[in-house]
């Protein structure tokens, strides 16, 4: 039986797809058979971030409609063993992801995978509800910014009431907070919410803090999840996050402002 993890946020553009890609790669690197599923129907992006966009033939909706079987739609990653992607459809029919269809697909994936990572679309509409409905665990992606934190609270409420686990009165979905685009120097200047404040407001245990990083943009451009960019701050932060998810103890890093050196301050670093 696979563990189903949804990566969700409510607010758009906070780093769900970036997180899904690196998280899935990280789990696979640790030897777990992992599939990343794109639930963002109509706005497929996970394939681009994972660098497999040219190999998409069939998609999630084709599988649900019986136009292709899972093996035809799954794309095997060329860099990392044990890693697959199930791309979203570009159809404009948002209702194409039926509850039954999603259930059947996840059930079938469950038989051969250890982890199913679901990249949720933004918002709280059908697609987002489908992505979270069957989840066992949730990564709540939040930026240190008021509207993102509020939307995360909203999503936590929906997880606690509208998920399968809530409806069938099972153990609740296990929640993990992932703070992304964190800029320590702005936090220390008092311009940005600090991680302790966010944890306190949302009341969800922290899984990881990903710093604001140029490496993320570079890796998106190249179609290489940032976790594969060795030595990058964001990549290392994702590696730590995966290790913690799997139960390892890892101290949080990249939390303090880098002191600007004399030269950089002088010449503008």
């Amino acid at each position: 039986m696979a563990k189903i993890i949804v990566v969700t946020s409510g607010k758009g553009g906070v780093g769900k797809t970036t997180t899904t890609a690196s998280f899935a790669v990280g789990l696979a690197q640790r030897g777990h058979k992992t599939v990343a599923v794109d639930f963002d129907v109509g706005l497929r992006n996970l394939d681009l971030i994972m660098g497999c966009e040219r190999r998409v033939v069939y998609d999630f909706v084709n599988v649900i409609n019986g136009e292709a079987n899972l093996n035809q739609a799954l794309i095997k990653d060329k860099r990392v063993e044990n890693l697959y992607v199930l791309p979203a459809s570009q159809t404009r029919d948002k209702e194409a992801l039926t509850k039954e269809g999603v259930a059947k697909t996840l059930e079938e994936l469950s038989k051969s995978f250890d982890f199913i990572v679901c990249d949720s679309p933004a918002g709280i509409e059908h697609g987002a509800l489908m992505a979270m409905y069957y989840a066992d665990e949730a990564l709540i992606v939040t930026n240190p910014e008021v509207s993102s934190v509020r939307d995360s609270d909203r999503i936590l409420g929906i997880l606690a009431s509208k998920s399968r686990r809530a409806e069938e009165v099972e153990e609740p979905v296990r929640e993990h907070l992932v703070i992304t685009r964190y800029a320590p120097e702005r936090v220390s200047e008092g311009e940005m919410l600090g991680m302790d404040d966010i944890i306190e407001i949302l009341g969800v245990p922290l899984l990881g803090v990903i710093p604001e990083s140029q490496a993320v943009l570079n890796s998106s451009n190249a179609g290489t999840p940032v976790i594969l960019t060795e030595g990058s701050d964001a990549g290392q932060a994702y590696t730590d996050l995966v290790a913690r998810f799997l139960g390892d103890e890892r101290a949080h890093r990249f939390l303090t402002a880098e002191k600007k050196g004399f030269m950089r301050r002088w010449f503008g670093g």
Binding site: E145, V146, V149, R150, D153, R154, L156, G157, A160, S161, A166, E167, E168, V169, E170, E171, P172, V187, E189, G190, E191, M192, L193, G194, D197, I201, L202, G203
Partner: protein, 93 residues
């Protein structure tokens, strides 16, 4: 850095300190008010298990003949328990 710049910077810093603090306070209020997370009371999963045990004292039912759901309507919750009882003959045995 000139003498005046020093004060200007100091003032900017002070204002900034206020803005993250302000964000935090506003969020705490809104999150408390919207109560985004009215969690299902903790006792519900164990109540569900115990209810099943009671039912099983009297009739033999399989797990999949029992359906428990919590529905939210406005301010209150409804716990819905559906049990498909076995046929007469099966019950007799």
């Amino acid at each position: 850095m000139g003498f005046l710049d020093y004060f200007r910077n100091a003032r900017r810093k002070q204002k900034a300190t206020g803005s993250a603090q302000q964000a935090k306070e506003r969020l705490q209020i809104i999150v408390a008010r919207e109560g985004g997370r009215r969690q299902t009371p903790d006792f519900i999963p164990s109540m569900k298990r115990e209810l099943l045990e009671v039912v099983r004292k009297y009739v033999t039912v399989e797990q999949d003949q029992v359906n428990v759901k919590v529905e939210r309507e406005g301010d209150y919750e409804v716990l819905e328990l559906n049990i498909t009882l076995p046929d007469e003959e099966e019950r007799a045995t």
